[in-house]
């Protein structure tokens, strides 16, 4: 196994962040160079995974598992890493247009924080060790707090503070769970723990605490309250990164744990509880999105609803029948959501640059000069709603198929209703574009790079639908949630 791949994937963005901090390299250049290196790393990783898969593991430090720690990667990790890189590079390009006009004061530190966040996400996507995940979560949380508070508005600072408190509390709950598991088995590696874990009070409490911590970070229904303001008030490229990938990485960790380590518990109540959390998030997020007045807030609330949707993978898992289909569906949904959500935020940012606000009632009707932006918004919205042939459609369709095959009728109905609700609030955003045009001029012209990036992400979200077949064959037909414990 090539030892250099995970090192490049994690430490390239970290090194870039440090070099930008020491003012050796310019931020944009560092971001693009990191993107380039990661492309090489990801191609290598992808070919290794499909060649020697389904799982690859590495031992940084060279010590075997109970004493040392590991990195692990499978096809899901690869596609997540690819999506993170795509959004990070697009967001960086968007920021080159956005920051000088909208937030010149933030440019000084934006890039360092951006690259730090990226490094933290990559390390979380590869980490196999529960305590290493804790450190990664803290790294990601601090970088995200820094990014949100780059916006100097009082509301953004308040949102950053709330996010800070909530997310660190979540980390602590997570760490308590990890402490219990370590106390029980003296191990921290997910696969090694999964091999020995059994029913018992301590393990159940550990699962509850860890899940609660991660639910807070993924912003699902009862503990979602921090997300709308944090994602809605942050600078636009930051909102895109947070909503599209940071939350997705937290979900990814939760998914890893419940499909692997805690899979023995999943069968009855836990799957039901996770499903109900998802259900509540879909409807609460959706109904709140319907009430919002600004485009950015609608998009922010839709993140809660959409991750609620992805949570439905757990009851479908428990129903059995079509585990692989459900898995593929969840992966596709997360990927398509990431790109589409980034594009929606970018579009809102373009409108903000053009008109100085994004309140849907006051936006001038008609597309004006922003035809491309509205086209991107429409495409991305279509993917979020799940209209064929977008990536969102394939994801939701696979999930629905799996639910039907597993005869989980209740969850199938929830999925259909959820999609309808999504359609309703996304329509509210789009409606502006085909209102009869009022003669209003844009305050500023939107830099071309911003429009291009917006469109690129939207097209990407739709393209996932067309690429579904090769993507699914890359993901593989077998469901193997964990590497071999001994590795």
């Amino acid at each position: 196994m090539a030892d250099w791949i995970p090192v490049v994937i994690i430490f390239m963005p970290l090194l870039a962040a440090v070099l930008v901090f020491t003012q050796t390299v310019r931020g944009v250049a560092a971001t693009l160079a990191t993107g380039g290196f990661l492309l090489i790393g990801l191609v290598a990783l992808g070919s290794e995974v499909s060649g020697q898969g389904p799982w690859l593991t590495w031992q940084p430090g060279g010590w075997p598992v109970p004493l040392g720690l590991r990195w692990q990667a499978d096809s899901f990790s690869v596609v997540m890493l690819a999506m993170v890189s795509l959004v990070a590079v697009s967001g960086g390009l968007f920021a080159t247009g956005f920051l000088p006009t909208a937030l010149p004061s933030a440019e000084r530190h934006f890039w360092t924080l951006w690259l730090f966040t990226w490094a933290a996400m990559n390390s979380l996507l590869l980490a196999a060790d529960l305590f290493n995940i804790y450190v990664g979560l803290e790294l990601m949380a601090l970088a995200a707090v820094g990014l949100i508070s780059l916006s100097r508005e009082t509301e953004a600072l308040q949102a950053a503070m709330r996010y800070f408190l909530v997310t660190l509390f979540g980390s602590m709950l997570y760490l308590m769970g990890v402490a219990l598991l370590y106390g029980q088995y003296g191990m921290l590696d997910q696969a090694a723990l999964a091999a020995v874990i059994e029913h018992g009070l301590a393990n159940v409490v550990a699962a509850v605490l860890i899940t609660l911590g991660l639910l807070i970070k993924t912003a699902l229904f009862p503990v979602h309250f921090w997300l709308p303001s944090a994602h809605g008030k942050a600078p636009v490229p930051v909102s895109a990164l947070l909503s599209a990938v940071v939350v997705a990485v937290c979900f990814f960790i939760m998914y890893r744990l419940w499909s692997g380590l805690f899979f023995v518990f999943l069968a009855d109540q836990p799957a039901m509880v996770l499903g109900v959390v998802g259900l509540a998030s879909i409807f609460w997020g959706g109904l709140q999105a319907l009430r919002q007045q600004s485009l950015k807030m609608i998009v922010a609330y839709s993140t809660i609803a959409q991750f609620g949707y992805v949570m439905l993978v757990f009851p479908v898992f428990a129903a059995g029948g079509a585990t692989v289909l459900a898995w593929h569906g969840a992966v596709m949904l997360v990927l398509a959501h990431g790109l589409a959500k980034a594009s929606l935020f970018f579009a809102a940012g373009c409108l903000h640059i053009a008109y100085d606000h994004d309140r849907i009632r006051e936006l001038p009707g008609g597309v004006g000069r922003l035809g491309w932006v509205w086209l991107a918004f429409a495409l991305a919205a279509a993917s979020i709603v799940g209209l064929p042939p977008s990536g969102g459609f394939v994801g939701k369709w696979r999930l629905l198929q799996a639910a039907v095959l597993g005869e989980a009728w209740f969850w199938a109905v929830v999925m259909v209703l959820g999609a309808l609700l999504t359609g309703a609030y996304m329509y509210r955003g789009l409606e502006t574009a085909w209102r009869p045009a009022a003669p209003a001029e844009a305050v500023r012209t939107v830099p071309g790079i911003m429009v291009a990036v917006t469109l690129f992400c939207a097209v990407g979200a739709v393209a996932i639908g067309f690429l579904a077949v090769p993507l699914e064959s890359f993901l593989g037909r077998t469901f193997e949630p964990l590497p071999i414990a001994g590795g």
């Binding site: 305590f131 450190v135 803290e138 949380a141 601090l142 707090v145 820094g146 508070s149 100097r152 009082t154 600072l157 308040q158 950053a160 503070m161 709330r162 800070f164 408190l165 660190l168 509390f169 602590m172 760490l175 308590m176 402490a179 370590y182 106390g183 003296g186 309250f225 709308p228 303001s229 709140q288 009430r291 919002q292 807030m297």
Partner: protein, 98 residues
Amino acid sequence: MTAFYLILAGVILAMAFHALMTRPNLLRKLMALNIFTSAVFLFLVTLARMAEPLDPIPHAMVLTGIVVTVSTTAVGLALLVRLYRRSGSLTLQSTDDD
């Protein structure tokens, strides 16, 4: 003796959790979060003491945790000062949309 320290950590944990949730002042919330963290560390180190022989790995974990906590506290305080200069208040307004 270890049972005593576990209970002690439990008591501190409950107090810190309660303060974190109910105190409006942000500086106090930050202190509560810090104390909460200390209680969790106390659990971990007591677990290390209960193992036979003494297990230094939780010690290393807690050392890492202490450094991470001081970093987060510093960031929290910087944010608090910034927020105070901007809004003139040390409390968070509740969100109207929720």
